[in-house]
């Protein structure tokens, strides 16, 4: 019996090896298409901006079978950096030198191009609160800070600032206390860290008793946390524009704009891609990079 088992195992190994070698045969490889997990604000934004020539949103079309889905930016970047045929997209703020960023419709992903609107793959970072409850003092004060010019200075560091309506923030007259619950987008999370740090620095002892409970696991989680807020101390973060369905129940504003960078492997010769090509790649109409250059 043991013999038989061992033989089966040996056979299996052989078959597997053979199959892989057969697959590995020559010819150009297919594109390894990578997306984010459902519920990610980045994906949400990407799918609502990327359209076919006929105007169909990627979000309404069906992704091709076998598109890889990952729940973190770093996995996407790591995969793209080690797979020559990979394509993916991440927040511009997360891009590092292990990968190459493509121009979209001939426009480079830069802050200036995002602000002047020529770079199409952009999305807002949204701060949300519940409309139906009154915000607690500490939460309201922090929101006031988030809308301020000081906050925008920080935003300008790594992201594209959102100028309209920013006013100078001044410390509250009395000390505040309470808990501020922050939920939502993982993309906004790092920015929020810096903002909280600045807020504490400006106010010093006055906010020493304000406790921040920040736990970011995705934009949709932020939206549902804000909807479920009864205490008036939840701040939601979203990394894509608020949907019409959600808009009536909350107060929200854009704190920053972010570019979504389309990334490929460094060895990829491609440097430019169009929105509709992206659509074709993600829906499976285009399966090889050579098809892009020939078009």
């Amino acid at each position: 019996m043991k013999k038989a088992k061992k033989l089966i195992v040996a056979l299996l190994v052989c078959v597997m090896a053979f199959a892989t070698f057969a697959f590995a045969g020559c010819g150009e490889k297919e594109i390894s298409v990578i997306t984010r997990n459902e519920g990610s604000g980045t994906r949400d934004a990407f799918e609502s901006i990327v359209k076919s020539d006929a105007g169909v949103k990627l979000g309404d079309a069906e992704l091709k079978d076998g598109v890889l889905q990952y729940d973190s930016t770093s996995t996407v970047i790591t995969q793209v950096s080690s797979v020559e045929t990979a394509i993916g997209y991440v927040s511009l703020g997360s891009v590092d030198d292990t990968i190459k960023v493509l121009k979209v419709n001939g426009v480079e992903a830069t802050a200036a191009n995002v602000l002047n609107g020529t770079y199409k793959l952009q999305r807002p970072f949204v701060i949300m609160t519940n409309k139906t409850v009154e915000l607690q003092d500490a939460t309201a004060d922090f929101i006031r800070f988030l809308k301020s010019t000081q906050a925008q200075e920080i935003v300008a560091g790594d992201y594209v600032k959102q100028e309209e309506g920013a006013v100078q923030y001044t410390s509250p007259s009395t000390a505040l206390s309470g808990t501020v619950v922050i939920r939502g987008s993982t993309s906004v999370d790092p920015l929020m860290d810096v903002l909280i740090g600045k807020y504490k620095e400006i106010n010093g002892n006055k906010v020493a008793n304000v406790e921040f409970q920040k736990d970011c696991q995705g934009s949709s989680a932020g939206i549902s946390a804000v909807k479920g807020d009864t205490a008036g101390n939840v701040i939601g973060l979203s990394s894509s524009a608020i949907k019409d369905a959600d808009a009536p129940s909350m107060n929200y504003f854009h704190i920053a704009l972010d570019a979504i960078a389309v990334i490929v492997n460094k060895n990829n010769e491609l440097s430019d891609i169009t929105i509709s090509q992206l659509f074709d790649i993600y829906t499976g109409a285009i399966t090889k990079f050579s098809e892009l250059s020939s078009k």
Binding site: K6, D96, C216, S220
Partner: protein, 600 residues
């Protein structure tokens, strides 16, 4: 006299009570998960859910409205089965041969080294496996894939295989070593070679133990989450090639849990329920293996098979396979550890380890270290006494074959097979809700405590069993009561096993992440100021640090620290084990020196 009687009865009642808690825990897990999934199942439709091939959930779906999303998990069930088979093909084979190698072909220092390596493999957090897989291992295999991207079924099987290897190896080794040496001597006396005696006599004798080891390996592969999410590709389709992306049931939960809408959440709990069914099936299989071992086996074999197999010298091939497996496991471990150390060590800084946490400032994992320690402390305080008491009840107070006992035993078995992500789900709807709805270290600790129970119970029971009955008789014959016998004679003799269980548990708390993400929180946070604060353990912090690609260096450094902790725990376990063994068998020093002086 009466007071001692009361004490004895009270002791028994306490032990029985703790055993009852274990049953309650199992019942609670099943009941809560199933209760949560019933509304979704009835909304989606049982067959549509189980046999639907489309998974396209809509977070806005609520029970009151018609469904927009699609909720069919057949592809994920198939994916889970495929990856489990793949893991078994890799890990089962490697683990089996490594065990045979360790038990029969390997001696002295080398044996010790390989043993330690296997134990280390068992302790490495699954997040690190995933991390290593996508950062390094993948590059070796990318060329094989039609898309140039090796993630998918093959990578998942490979990584899962390595992850279940320690389970398979150590259990197989144990059952091989339990085969009486006289069988081997008998075979040699009949003129068999060493290889022949090993593969024809010893291995068949350990058959049921090996089967049990493989089944436990299956359980582990089935329940693995964090590493799988990183390498499976996660598209909800049936993989039709080795390098095709697919999604497992566990990955489905962890991918969508944090943003799921009402119906979607129910569907995720239903996914958990399906996993529980898998666990139950595995346990039933296990029961068959255990009872089937005693039955006389009618050996059916194909004549052709026999002809082919008799031509091959299995002894030699087997020996080579054993060696190759052990070397492979060793190479994998060494490269993993070396890679992580090279990438991480330069980034371990004072600021990272001991710096004060500041929002937006440089990363400090001190809060995570503290949170990890707090979790270890509380879960040990809860799980160890409960586990030991249950084990005492099972081993010292019960009659063989009692119905109650077999129920507790299967409860413990089921608990040990439940995937960690399902514990996470359970914790999220029980402890988190009970504690006011927000994440807390307390909720996480309670969740992991239940998860630790089966390990503690099992290993304590094993070491209680190994205490000879003559010790108990000797103590009773001196007029000692049962409680005194247990606490003064039996437990001290079982101490090495119990300490090993404690260290094993600490290792588990350090390396788990799935049960914490939905109970304790998953953001890097300031220092916790009590058990009601939320927090992240080191493993979760590693996952989080790496995820936005902003703190990759710190992630490597954290991985380093985790590996060092795991290594230290392993060495500690070995050292304590040796020390206690010595104390029990050889010298007991230093306690009565006063008397000694007087006597001489």
């Amino acid at each position: 006299m009466n007071s001692s009687k009361i004490k004895e009865q009270g002791g028994k009642a306490i032990f029985a009570g703790t055993a009852g808690i274990c049953i309650l825990a199992v019942i609670a897990i099943f009941v809560f998960i199933i209760l949560q999934s019933i509304p979704a199942l009835s909304k989606i439709g049982f067959t549509d859910f189980l046999f639907g091939t489309k998974w396209n959930p809509d977070a806005n779906d609520i029970y009151a409205n018609d469904l927009v999303g699609k909720y069919g998990i057949l592809n994920m069930i198939v994916g889970t089965v495929f990856s489990t088979i793949g893991a078994l093909a890799v890990g089962g084979t490697l683990g089996y041969f490594t065990a045979v190698y360790l038990a029969f072909f390997c001696k002295g220092k080398l044996k010790k080294i390989i043993n330690t390596m296997v134990n280390l493999l068992a302790g490495i957090p699954s997040v690190i496996y995933g991390f290593f897989a996508i950062k390094a291992v993948m590059k070796l295999f990318n060329w094989m894939s039609p898309t140039g991207n090796a993630t998918g079924l093959f990578m998942t099987s490979l990584i899962l295989g390595i992850m279940i290897l320690p389970t398979v190896t150590s259990l197989t080794k144990t059952s091989l070593e339990a085969v009486p040496k006289s069988y081997y001597e008998g075979a040699l006396a009949l003129g068999a070679t060493h290889e022949h005696a090993v593969f024809k006599t010893m291995v068949p004798a350990a058959k049921s133990g090996i089967k049990a080891a493989l089944i436990l390996g299956i359980g582990r592969a089935l329940g693995e989450t964090m590493a799988v999410v990183m390498v499976a590709g996660n598209s909800p389709q049936i993989p039709d090639g080795l390098f095709e992306s697919f999604r497992t049931l566990t990955a489905n939960i962890v991918l969508e849990m944090s943003y799921a809408g009402e119906v979607q959440m129910g569907a995720l709990f239903s996914t958990g329920a399906v996993l529980l069914v898998f666990v139950a099936v595995i346990n039933i299989l296990m029961g068959f293996v255990k009872t089937g071992g005693q039955k006389t086996k009618s050996k059916k074999s194909l004549p052709l098979w026999d002809k082919i197999t008799s031509k091959i010298n299995f002894g030699k091939i087997g020996k080579i396979a054993c060696f190759v497996s052990a070397v492979f496991a060793g190479i994998f471990l060494v490269s993993l550890v070396v890679y992580i150390l090279i990438m991480g060590l330069p980034h371990i800084t004072g600021q990272l380890l001991f710096g004060e946490f500041e929002y937006g400032g440089e990363i400090s994992i001190l809060p995570s270290i503290v949170a990890t320690l707090m979790t270890i402390l509380l879960s040990i305080v809860i799980a160890i006494p409960l586990g030991i008491a249950t084990a005492i009840f099972l081993n010292e107070y019960t009659k063989k074959g009692s119905r109650f006992i077999s129920i507790i035993r299967s409860a413990v078995d089921i608990l040990s097979g439940v995937p960690s992500i399902v514990y996470g789900l359970f914790g999220a709807i029980t402890f988190v809700v009970l504690l006011g709805g927000s994440y807390s270290i307390l909720a996480g600790s309670l969740t992991i405590s239940i998860m630790l129970l089966p390990t503690v119970i099992r290993s304590t029971e094993e070491s209680l069993k190994s205490v000879p009955d003559s010790f108990r008789e000797g103590s009773l014959a001196l007029g000692a009561g049962k409680l005194r016998t247990i606490f003064k004679v039996v437990l001290p003799s079982a101490m090495p096993g119990i300490i090993a269980a404690v260290i094993l548990s600490i290792g588990r708390v350090v390396s788990e992440s799935a049960p914490f993400m939905f109970t304790m929180g998953a953001s890097i946070k300031p220092m916790p100021d009590g058990y009601m604060s939320s927090g992240t353990t080191l493993a979760v912090a590693l996952y989080k640090l790496s995820s936005e690609n902003l703190h990759t260096n710190e992630a490597y450094a954290t991985a380093c620290i985790l590996i060092v902790i795991v290594l230290a725990l392993n060495l500690l376990a070995e050292w304590v084990g040796k020390k206690l063994e010595k104390k029990l068998n050889g010298e007991t020093n230093g306690i009565r020196t006063k008397h000694k002086r007087k006597a001489s």
